[in-house]
Point group: C2
Chain length 682, copies 2
Amino acid sequence: MADDALIVFLPSGRRGRFAAGTVVLQAARELGVDIDSVCGGRGICGRCMVGVETGEFPKFGIESRCEHLGPMSAREHRYQARHGLAPGRRLACAARVLGNLLVDVPAESQLHRQSVRKDPHERPVRLDPVVRLHYIELEGPGIHDQRSDLARLEQGLAEQWGLEIHAYDRTLLAELPLALREGDFKATVAVREGRLLMAIWPGFRDRAFGLAVDVGTTTLAGHLCDLATGEVVAAIGVMNPQIRFGEDLISRVSYIQRHPERATELTATVRRAVGKLAAATAAEAGVEYREILEAVLVGNPVMHHILLGIDPSQLGRAPFPLVIDRSVDLRAGRLGLKLHPAARAYLLPCIAGHVGADTAGMLLAEAPHAAHEMCLLVDVGTNAEIVLGNCERLLACSSPTGPAFEGAQISCGQRAAPGAIERVRVDPITLLSRFKVIGSDRWSDEPGFALEAAGFGITGICGSGIIEAVAELFLAGLVLPSGLIDGSRAAECAQLVRDGQVYSYRLHAGTPEILVTQTDVRAIQLAKAALYAGARLLMDRMGVGSVDRIVLAGAFGSYIDPRHAMVLGMIPDCPLDRVLSAGNAAGAGARIALLNLAARREIEALVRRVEKVETAAVSSFQREFVAAMKIPHARDAFPHLDAAQDGRARDAAHQPLGQSAPIAQRTTQTRKVAGASDAGTR
Amino acid sequence: MADDALIVFLPSGRRGRFAAGTVVLQAARELGVDIDSVCGGRGICGRCMVGVETGEFPKFGIESRCEHLGPMSAREHRYQARHGLAPGRRLACAARVLGNLLVDVPAESQLHRQSVRKDPHERPVRLDPVVRLHYIELEGPGIHDQRSDLARLEQGLAEQWGLEIHAYDRTLLAELPLALREGDFKATVAVREGRLLMAIWPGFRDRAFGLAVDVGTTTLAGHLCDLATGEVVAAIGVMNPQIRFGEDLISRVSYIQRHPERATELTATVRRAVGKLAAATAAEAGVEYREILEAVLVGNPVMHHILLGIDPSQLGRAPFPLVIDRSVDLRAGRLGLKLHPAARAYLLPCIAGHVGADTAGMLLAEAPHAAHEMCLLVDVGTNAEIVLGNCERLLACSSPTGPAFEGAQISCGQRAAPGAIERVRVDPITLLSRFKVIGSDRWSDEPGFALEAAGFGITGICGSGIIEAVAELFLAGLVLPSGLIDGSRAAECAQLVRDGQVYSYRLHAGTPEILVTQTDVRAIQLAKAALYAGARLLMDRMGVGSVDRIVLAGAFGSYIDPRHAMVLGMIPDCPLDRVLSAGNAAGAGARIALLNLAARREIEALVRRVEKVETAAVSSFQREFVAAMKIPHARDAFPHLDAAQDGRARDAAHQPLGQSAPIAQRTTQTRKVAGASDAGTR
């Protein structure tokens, strides 16, 4: 037909011929072009804004011109008057096709666009949120149309949005009659998973938020996200107040084993904290609690069970069975979250007794199953949760590293907090050391450090600090491969101090004095051996001698210099540039599950495919463990490290050791928000 | 094979050949014979007890003997020692076939048996309860079997009971680990609808109860039932405390319309009452509240909405739309019912703005859709809810009878309570009247009545009393077909007293004086005309001139003498013996939905098939209504009544009018339990 026009949509390239006068949104829908809309094409929401690319496009055989879109409609003028319309932008639901057109659908107008990121470290997520808003206009009841309010609404959603509603939240019924009539039967509804009617508001509405929470043993990290854009509008980290029942998981579980009647107290404590965290993020972002419609939570099995009010005692006794190993979907209010009364909370599935929903989150974030390369994921904590695999197979285990990596059971150990030594360098020639302390950007031998340090005091050494200290002492030859601090070199090194039969290395002579003792080295050896043996166990089970990529996850993992980890033999050999930090991968996974519905089904299916290996049940584990006590495990098994070491040795004169950056920069400032943005659970 | 034996099960007649040594329960299952079991064939529950019919059975070509069942097994001896075993009874799960057998499965051993009835007026229900108990024995976890507790349980239920569990109650998780271990991985679970895991108890357990509640405008009636037998173990009726917000529905709705902020108060009031009722039934039956696993509730649309916390204001304004017109299934705790924490409540669906879940219950109990005969169901109240139809078609409407039938807007009217005149006779010759009063079994002209009456006082006249009074006055010629009290007969009748321009009939001369005024007659005329016009409207719509059966439901309907109803022209013509009382049909329907799962699906499908007729939208309704004001509507349209009247006239000398029994005997005693057993909602 002469009146037909060819429309090409970018970036999809989808195209088709349409009669003159066709509304652009209609053409897009017929072609399956991904354009957003909350108001259902009524010119209210402005989500469907498009632009026109003008000029000759020989590729498509058309000339595209602005005037081929027809003049601004009354609806567009009204929208422009109320909300403004950027130059060149038109509403796809109002603009009509008059001639050939190249229509640009900008990213922000795409339904399944990527999430908006304020912080470049945030992962982009393909938006497909679990809860969506839909504006709807209905006929009111009359003497010949006595459908119930609910039936009327559901039929409207079917006709106007193609939604097949299967259920409604019980709180909806109380709101429904008034909301419909207050808005003269124009209303916005929130629909979950395309089938659960959650909430209704009179008239048009465009704000909906979701909360992702990583419930860590030490820290709770909350991210409040705009469900429409994926943008993180608030990120807050708070301490887990359960710490008063025990610093680490094991002590909390044994507290409950000793006081079963007080299990509910731990549950109440963590729920209160999660509730406060939700309120704090909402307050920071200026969001009403009723605007938060969904929550996703991750946590290790113990935190997961306690949060759900499940006695975690079994997780402290072999064979450590979970009570539930699948995802949990329940009313958010049940977890102490004061969100919209219909808001629901989703907990990612746990995988095994010590491989929790946090590991499931890490899987979702790092997606080892999406690639062919053999990937080793390690979440370092009191237990190292280890996953090995690729698109073909995934293995998981948990290895009892103990709390040394968290600074516990270390003579001068402490949690990562201002005043803790977090990085250490030992000069292999002078055998003198220098260090950095959380709260200062300066090394201890730099000018101004003493003044800064006086402000907070040097109080101890945290996990990453003790690892670096032991690794550097080993590199300097002061710690032998057996782990012995070499007292024979006390003459050359004033920092080596005798302590009975053994020696310690004095890192800092102030008050308190910060020592690395022989016992500390042994504790780190035990921890690193457990981690290495766990990884090795999975590699043996998988039948691979090396891995293509290592991801260190969790707050702690982020602060380990991969070189030091490899020097110690914590992790298997791998090209150093393929050892990556995932930051708070569990929290990132929670955010993915919040913003993308398909991700939930994906992880639910994936965790069933993960083969759980119980280290205690594998006879070779003890052997591997004992062998891994040596530093590093087997030197000749680390060609990549050797190469790196050699390079470093060559460059030593030009590039001081201290300049090799750890994966995550931990400065005073990042520390402040570490709980939320990157650090998460420790 | 020579070793084969023929087993015939009675009463089903199912038969088959089985190898010697086959367990009887196994044979029954293979043949699809309906035998109950809670313990899964472990000799614990005793539900599978069977007997043997001995002798020659030429019909089956076998000789059946006791010894063909083999000797009592150890398991049977153990059961007998613990619980006893009636002579001749064996456990099907333990007894083995040795030769030809005629096995009798007694009613109590059938899975889908009829409910046990203490009261012959209770309807039998085919048992298929929504919640069932299943005993299960599991392997505990080990180092090579680390399934989660939930997965272990679900797999056990699949293997041992063939159950496919789809969901679990959130309260289960907290109970699960301890319950499993306390019973050494032997436990009893409650499963709802064959797929929702509700609750778990350590070891074997055999008690589960359900509650059916009819939430009436005036009365709440609760029946607590044993889910295993269907037996009603407690029945209690209490007043609806909402009465302080208005005696009838309209006044409660208008209270909420005037004080929308107090709607929640009405909800809280009725929920508290339902909760107390539940507690009272449990206490009466000696049942722990945690043993009650399910509740079913019915009520008219206003009570239904208020109970759910839905503002019922729209039900007081044309076109009276419901907020929800389907069944509701929610946690019982949400309605203020303190039952097992996982117990759920099911509300039958409402049909239309004035045709509620109580009518749905009536449909379930009276099953007009199960027969070809044309049935008219009437629930008489402030609104008459009327259903007409048969297996082919069902029509429903509500007719605004007003509160006259409930004794309101009647000069000396009162609720049916001790002291109220409930039955009236007027001698057509002497024109003298006599009456019966609630609280006494004697007529007012019988010896001893005065003494009894002095005990409680004669305080007024209730709905059934005023109906009988007007009908009797009409039969005596003191009320004319137009409804006018015929003052011209004042000379013959001392009880006719002048009241301005019109006359009243003095029923009782004491203090207070009980009069039937001209205004009272008009109120009854209006009410009966509305009822008749509603029925007529449905008959016209259905295209039928008469009906085969009339069922008067609700407490009030039970106390109306059908003859008086027909004399007044309240109901269309019908053979008098085909006018039946259904008692509290709504409550009976609730009990059916409690004990039989299929009944829920049946009523949910059925209400969608019911065609709702809005009387206000039908132009002929007003015409019918005006015509129906006459007493009776059209005399020649009542051939059955005429025949009955003629018969009565013939027998008048022999059988005093007062001897014709109304459908329900309302004595002091039945009145006491009327709210629960038969009367229910008024």
